[in-house]
């Protein structure tokens, strides 16, 4: 069983995690045409190589980002979401 290095909990068995698929921009396609929107919903790049994915550590209810090489299934790096504001589309900041 794979180990996943959770930014919050350290390395844990993969069975404790839930994968929610590749990280994608949530809002860009919403303004484009219907075809672009359905492409956004139903097509994935399916890259061979490093991909960014959302993973969730179920016991601690923690979302984070995993950079995984789909050719080798090796986990290159894991990121806390606040480390990648570029991917969540919204920087984590205190309310003004």
């Amino acid at each position: 069983m794979k180990l996943i290095d959770c930014p919050l909990n350290g390395p844990r068995n993969a069975s404790e995690f839930h994968c929610a698929g590749p990280v994608r921009s949530v809002s860009d396609a919403i303004r484009d045409g219907d075809i672009a929107w359905s492409d956004h919903l139903f097509f994935e790049d399916n890259n061979a190589g490093p991909v960014l994915e959302w993973w969730f550590h179920t016991p601690s209810s923690y979302w984070f980002i995993v950079e995984r090489d789909t050719r080798t299934d090796a986990i290159v790096k894991t990121y806390a979401p606040e480390d990648r504001p570029d991917l969540t589309g919204r920087p984590h900041q205190a309310r003004p």
Partner: protein, 931 residues
Amino acid sequence: MNFPRVKDRLPAPYGTLIDRARPITFTFEGMTLNAFQGDTIASALAANDVTPIGRSFKYHRPRAILSLDGSDSNLLVNLDGVPNQPAESTQLNDGAVVSAQNYRGSLQRDRWALPSLLARFLPVGFYYWAFFRPRIAGKFWEKIIRARAGLGVIDPDHDWRRAREEYDWADVVVIGAGPAGLAAATAAGAAGADVLVLDKRRTHGGIVAPDPAPHIRLSLNSIVHGIYADGWIAASRDGRLLKVRAGRIVLATGVLQQPAVFRNNDRPGVMLGVSAVTLIRDYGVLPGRNIVVVATDADGYEVAREIWEAGVDSMSIIDVREAASPDSTMAETWGATVLRACVPIEAIGAKRVEGLVVRYGGDGDRTIPCDLVCLCGGTVPDAALWGHAGGTLAHDREDGCWRLAGAADRVIAAGAVNGHSDPGDCALDGTAAGRIAAFAAGIGDDPRVAPPIPSAMAGSAPIIVPHEKGAEFVDFDEDLTVQDLRAGIAQGFEHAQLLKRYTTLGMGPSQGRHALLAATEIAADARGEDPGAVGTTTFRPPAFGPSFATIAGEAFQPERVTPMDGWHREAGARMMVAGDWWRPAHYGDPPLEEARWVRKAVGVIDVSSLGKMEIRGPDAAAFMERLYTFRFEKQPVGRSRYALMLDETGAIIDDGVACRLADDHFYVTTTTGASNQIYRSMLWWNLHWGFEVDITNVTGAYAAINIAGPLSRRVLSRIAGLDVGAGAFPYLAVREGEIAGVPARIMRIGFVGELGFEIHTPSGYGAHVWRELLANGLDEGIRPFGVEAQRLLRLEKGHIIVGQDSDALSFPHEVGLDWAVADKPDFVGKRSMEIHNRRGANRTLVGFRLSGNATDAPKEGNVTLIDGAISGRVTSSGFDTGTGAAIGLAYIQPIHAGAFNIKLDSGKTIRAEITPLPFYDPDNARQEIDP
């Protein structure tokens, strides 16, 4: 047939694994035989000179011990009713009942044994051709194959119990407790690492320090089945599955001796040299007295010497090499006959070996009478586990041998598997590997190990002697001969991976571990290439097959029970599974009766399994507004609202009730099955939105009870610490207060279409409130009702069940929930829903009522038909609580009006009338009823 008397065992120190003080008896095929505690089935049968032990898979040839490796299909037996136990590694107990497998009639005279003439009807690729074309041929063969297929017969009445699992961790796991493995364990332990040594044998094969460090654990009888990602090892011991996480793994599995390939090399009495040595050394069984050893390297002489020392009548060593070696000279001095440049041609003897025909120089063929032929056909690294971790085997052209190649994740090989043959070299290699492994696992200092000692292993050409009459077995599990492999290659399946699949080479329980050397050589020879160019197939788990029971192990599926679970069970409820939860389906009465009582008087239902989320913070309303389809910004405090959630594709994924407890505090319920998923998705969305809210899943923290029926207010008012009257507590109001003296959140909702209240109280109080409600409703005849009655009641009100009446393609407009969607700038699923709405619905969910009688009620999933064509399906089916007539919900084409047909399971078609929803109380007058 008469079996010879029990042979005497060799004196100690031979027989290290048997306890001579504890004789036992067992039966094999009905014969009562003697053995000692510590014997395996195979060693006991060998001691009693019993052959054959089994029949081969395809041709039903008599077979006995080949490798003692624990995975030969020919040595699978039935032990005390359990099929497919490896005779080679399974220990006998007193009174054991053992029988052979894979024969028809008797083991001695197997009616399924194929005369060699008929063997041509089972050519290589038989299964492929039999089923390829014509199709009718497949049907013909199927019956015959099914009757013969498989080894062993499962007894469905046999006692079974669930196998246990065990989890373990170690900095360094050493696989193989030989000289290299034990040296590695000692070195890693000395560096401070926590070490676990796994070995499938019952004894280790090296020197253990008299007082090993406590953090070095030796686990024998432990079969490693596979190495998986990140140092995860699956093993088993005594039928228990071990899951071990290793920081680093030292692989010290040694080498696999290979047989020689010649005609009738499968005769009982022909076995690997190591098997004979094991029988002598471990069990004190001398498997023959007149012995021929077939050797191709120094290894063969080593075997010959050990057997010789046990005391034999005659020994010939057939050395395929021409040149004399120090070994051969030495063997001659102890009295063995050494024949150099000599090859085995054919084993003779019908049921067991009686002689070996050899071809010797220019003298032509001669027969050496013997009762044991030991095959020492060279070795290959036991590399299966290396392969699991990503490594490969490569052919070393220079030394003419196979070596580990590539990189295996977290695995360091040591000893014989790593190319060493001298035990001293193996130990040195093991020590270095142990230190490297410990350091790599983060223990101790950089060992600065000296460069690896050069491998001393010399390769040896495999012994392959094809015969015009065939029966030169390469794969003993699958009954594959030289001719079979050549035929496969000739038909174009020349790649190692194709050859395996076409011929089934290596697909038996022993995974081709004794076929590798010969098979690659035969393929290389047929292709005119180097064995390295042929390569091996990919090694995949399991290296040794565990039983299905072991794999199945324990199921750690969580089951959740509500705080009132004990009450339900005591009250005789029939419990059912809903998501992870156990819920009462009903309490013994027909669900329709329970439902009618709710309509008539008052009932209570445990709805604690509903998901419950707390949304708190300054942005709570904005978060709700964005996530759900309704409006929540202006929802008054103290009011509840229906909450519908879509996913990004516009499909309905959840619904519930949103209660505003304060300006900055919402309490939302979700469906029973979806609470975890909805919670996850709430957190995910807010990572992107960045609203200032705190989201907490309090599903297990609150018990929930729905009390419903015209008399519900009367019952509740007796134990409510707040005014539940119509004026103070209107429909859809939410209040916080005390019920039966404990804190509660109370919402007045139309859950089942009657006046009703839902009470949420901290879980610890759940059973108390439940009992108090029942105790205070005696005058009203309060009764509990289960999920089945709830479904009937909700169906009557036209409430859809998300996941049953909706599916992954249902959008609000289709199921009549467009009223629950607000016109607001954005919410999850809006973009897609708009596209759906523009395109119009493909189907619509309608209520229906049957004209016929209720016994014809359709089932969920029955298709709906319009003009004979499939239009949709029934999603919910139930009964009208008033008339008992069958009603339900179904998808049909949206343009349709009037009636449609439903095709029942029986094939009968019935007529259904579209009925406006809800079936019951369309004006919601029952909510204000106050008797």
